[in-house]
């Protein structure tokens, strides 16, 4: 017997390129921020306050994206802000994924009392308003990078465990799991070698989505001044400052907001693209 399937290959789509491109720029910006920043992000120059971006009248070409009300260079601050945003996205996103996906896999495949406990826990967790929960946590833990990451993991692991549980349950009912059982595979072996690879595309999509969400949560916490020390530039903090001078200097608000928007969008689009890439049927 012969079969002509499997000759079909798909090109990685445009969205994968665009979103990947933006994130790559961001990573480079974050890594090389000290070298490429035109100014010290903390240096104030009240004589150069509220300078508009380069294409507007009265702009100073030394400050490409203008300055805020204290005369600090917006571009430099955004470059440094990208560092925090990406650090949080990567570390918090990955940790959330590990915690949530493991619990989801256990609940969905092992079922029984483990599922009962985890599922009820998820139900209870989901009843908390997440942002308020995060603010509460930071208030207890104190500000700082570790606290932000812990807060994100604690409020968002349910996103993974719910989806992974459902997926693992439907995979667990498939005949190939029964076959593996008959062939003498252990429960753990089946969970890791048979179920996990089939849940992986979903996990990857969720992971990148979570990274976007982590960026948002970090921005929200910075916005309410609960992120890291106040003198360090963050996108959320810049947005908060820009809000107060929106009528005099819109750029202070708009640029970090745009960076935030593009980053979150890119993460989610990257996830969709990668999901297809990891799926053997769509690949």
């Amino acid at each position: 017997m012969r079969d002509a399937r499997g000759q079909i290959r798909r090109l990685p789509g445009l969205r994968l390129w665009l979103s990947g491109g933006w994130l790559l720029i961001l990573v480079l910006a974050a890594v090389f921020a000290p070298m490429i920043s035109p100014h010290d992000p903390l240096e104030q120059d009240l004589f150069a306050a509220r300078l508009p971006p380069f294409w507007q009248q009265g702009a100073d070409p030394a400050y490409l994206l203008g300055t805020d009300s204290l005369g600090r260079d917006l571009l430099s601050r955004m470059l440094y802000g990208a560092r925090l945003a990406l650090t949080v996205a990567l570390i918090a996103g990955t940790l959330t994924c590990l915690v949530g996906a493991s619990l989801g896999l256990i609940a969905g495949y092992y079922r029984g009392w483990a599922d009962l406990v985890i599922s009820r826990l998820v139900d209870i967790w989901m009843a908390f308003p997440p942002v308020l929960f995060a603010i509460l946590l930071i208030a207890v833990l104190g500000t700082g990078l570790t606290s932000i990451i812990v807060a994100i993991v604690v409020i968002d692991w349910t996103r993974f465990s719910r989806v992974v549980r459902a997926e693992a349950m439907s995979q667990g009912a498939m005949d190939y799991v029964a076959s593996a059982q008959v062939a003498g595979r252990s429960r753990l072996g089946i969970a890791l070698a048979e179920i996990l690879p089939n849940v992986l595309p979903t996990i990857v999509a969720l992971l990148t989505l979570e990274m976007g969400i982590a960026v948002i949560v970090e921005a929200i916490l910075s916005f309410v001044n609960l992120s890291i020390s106040t003198d360090q530039p963050t996108w959320g903090g810049m947005i908060a400052e820009g809000r107060t001078s929106i009528y005099q200097a819109w750029w202070v608000l708009v640029f970090p907001l745009a960076a935030l928007f593009l980053t979150v969008l890119s993460f989610s689009q990257l996830g969709e693209g990668l999901k297809d890439y990891f799926d053997p049927v769509l690949r």
Binding site: M1, R5, A178, S179, A180, A183, G184, N198, P280, V281
Partner: protein
């Protein structure tokens, strides 16, 4: 000497409702026994009980499953898994879900040889190629490297058959292996299973609802209704003169190619109620 002997097997739902009612049957070495019944009669449940893959909602509450004279239910879980893995194999119903979609076909065939029988990976792979050749698959090396979705349903069922015979099991349980396939492929697959079974001299428990299939493949059969054995006989006797009224009705309900207009008759209600009464009487006898 029978290879598989099931004695008084009882399986219940968690809430106590019976799925299998003291089922006893035996499959001799090298024999093909068909297990027939309408859907919901518990045919597949017997196979699942033997293989130790009963669904979560079902519970084995009594009986013995003797494999080669050894009661599987008395073995500790690990020894039992090892014994089943080495001696029994499954040809599942739906070839579309019976292969893991995200793993290549090759390792899925060789897993058991490596894990349970402790073969070297290369030896197992050579064996897999041999088997794929045996089930008439062209360019087996390429198929081994394929993902399941790259192959057709018939191909996948061939792979599953090859995989079932890989470890030279003494018993194979085939759970409606042709139901999910279209008729032309069904015929080839049936022939293939028969051919493989004869060549490897394996005992085969063939679960089906299709009496046409039974006449082609098996030597003996067991008729099941509502988890109770209704009739147990050899194929020749069954098709010539079924003893039980339900068996006769079942036979009458089988379409015949020679008489396309005439013979399609549903099982009459009177006979259904007759068997139902019989089952109820059996239940009452058990609880007394």
């Amino acid at each position: 000497m029978s290879y598989l002997t099931i004695k008084d097997l009882t399986v219940r739902l968690k809430n106590g409702a019976p799925l299998l009612r003291k089922v006893s049957l035996a499959v001799n070495s090298g024999e093909v026994r068909a297990l027939v019944g309408e859907s919901g009669a518990g045919k597949s449940m017997i196979g699942k009980a033997v293989l130790g893959i009963l669904p979560r909602a079902a519970k084995l509450t009594g009986g013995e499953i003797l494999l080669d004279g050894e009661d599987l239910l008395r073995l500790p879980p690990k020894a039992r898994r090892a014994k089943i893995g080495a001696k029994v194999a499954l040809i599942p119903q739906d070839p579309l879900t019976a292969l893991n979609p995200s793993r290549r076909v090759g390792p899925q065939i060789t897993d058991r040889l490596v894990d349970i029988l402790g073969w070297k990976r290369e030896t197992a792979e050579a064996r897999a190629v041999e088997l794929l050749d045996e089930v008439h698959i062209q360019s087996p090396e390429r198929v081994m490297r394929s993902y399941p979705h790259e192959l057709s349903g018939g191909m996948r069922q061939r792979i599953l058959i090859a995989s079932a015979f890989a470890a030279e099991p003494k018993l194979i349980i085939a759970d409606e292996p042709t139901t999910a396939l279209d008729v032309t492929v069904q015929k080839q697959i049936l022939k293939l299973i028969r051919e493989m079974q004869e060549r490897h001299d394996t005992a085969l428990l063939f679960v089906t609802h299709d009496l046409g299939v039974v006449s082609k493949i098996s030597q003996s059969l067991t008729v099941l209704y509502a988890g109770k054995v209704i009739e147990e006989t050899d194929v020749r006797t069954f098709f010539a003169a079924p003893k039980h009224a339900y068996s006769r009705a079942l036979l009458a309900a089988t379409p015949k190619y020679t008489d396309p207009d005439g013979s399609l008759m549903p099982v009459p209600d009177s006979i259904i109620s007759e068997v139902e009464q019989e089952v109820a009487a059996f239940d009452a006898q058990l609880t007394r």
